[in-house]
Amino acid sequence: MEGMDPRAFVLGCSAIGAGLAMIAGIGPGIGQGFAAGKGAEAVGRQPEARGTITSTMLLGCAVAESTGIYGLVVAMILLFANPLVGKIQG
């Protein structure tokens, strides 16, 4: 660690952390795909209930999306409003 700029080290690790935080995108992707597939199935079975099915599916998708958005917000904070850089001594 001799001769290394601590600021550069923290910023580099933050960038890696932001990338890792976006792994959270896998969950909502699977969940929303599953919800959309089930929605299509339901429309196929009952085409007359299309409006209700679509709004229910969108609501479920939006709730499933929350975890992905939390990951996105963490990544954004690490990239654009990094709280760790200020903690460096000296």
């Binding site: 969108l58 609501l59 654009f80």
Partner: protein, 257 residues
């Protein structure tokens, strides 16, 4: 109090050349236009605040114009009256499907929320920084929903509202309180994250397109508009509907049958 309104990044500013040159690299934070001092406290007037004022002014003027025109509305609608009636009827049926006939008066409030969020989300198309890409805006709107949830819960549920926190078992009280506090957080972060994410992706696309060499500049035609349709129009409209629908669902959940 010199509000530098002319500094606002907008389409007009872009055309006339008022825009200050964008910062090197990518900056997702709202620009601070003016710092006001009230004693020892400092209040920041950011791009978000000024943009919200612009949309508020536009919407208020539109509302006043519609109100004046409403005086000579006829039984047989035509022209502008058709559009207004369509919007109101759509919102009415939307509220009734989510909150039942009895609480249809919530449509008055949620129509305003709907229009403000929709205009904010779509403003990215005109080169504004969307106010909803700032956690302050979404948190403020969500706070009103949070207040409404618990106000309606106490008003209609009386003692049952407080008893609900001890269900199914009394020792789950802390978990119930945490889940109540998580509602506004997830509601505000969803809207904020979606719009900010779209905004940042668009900024990165513009940066990438700007650095294209030679003949590859042909990609500048069409590519941004397709992405704008997805990130601004589609995501913006869907998130507006989702926000209003979830708000209404949360309020309805607290009202006993």
């Amino acid at each position: 109090m010199g509000l530098h309104l002319l500094e606002v990044k907008s389409l007009v500013g872009h055309l006339i050349g008022w825009n200050t040159t964008p910062a090197e690299g990518l900056d997702a934070n709202a620009r601070i236009i003016e710092k006001l001092h009230f004693g020892s406290t400092e209040v920041w007037i950011t791009e978000t605040v000024v943009n919200t004022w612009i949309f508020m002014a536009a919407l208020i003027i539109l509302a006043v114009i519609l109100r004046i025109k409403m005086k000579n509305y006829k039984n047989k609608p035509s022209g502008l009256q058709n559009v207004v009636e369509l919007a109101i009827e759509y919102m009415d049926s939307f509220v009734k499907s989510a909150m039942t006939e009895k609480y249809a008066y919530f449509g008055n409030w949620f129509f305003g929320v709907f229009v403000l969020i929709l205009v904010s989300n779509l403003s990215g198309l005109l080169g504004f920084r969307p106010p909803t890409a700032d956690l302050c805006t979404t948190a403020a709107i969500t706070f009103t929903t949070f207040f409404l949830i618990h106000f309606m819960g106490i008003k209609t549920g009386k003692g049952g509202y407080f008893k609900g926190y001890l269900e199914p078992l009394p020792f789950l009280l802390p978990i119930n309180i945490i889940s109540e506090l998580a509602t506004p957080i997830s509601l505000s972060f969803r809207l904020f994250g979606n719009i900010l994410g779209g905004m940042i992706i668009m900024a990165m696309v513009y940066m990438a397109l700007g650095s294209l060499p030679g003949i590859a500049k042909i990609f500048n035609i069409g590519v941004p508009s397709v992405l704008h349709v997805y990130f601004d129009v589609f995501a913006g409209c869907i998130q507006t509907v989702i926000f209003v629908m979830l708000s209404m669902t949360f309020i309805k959940d607290k009202i006993p049958d």
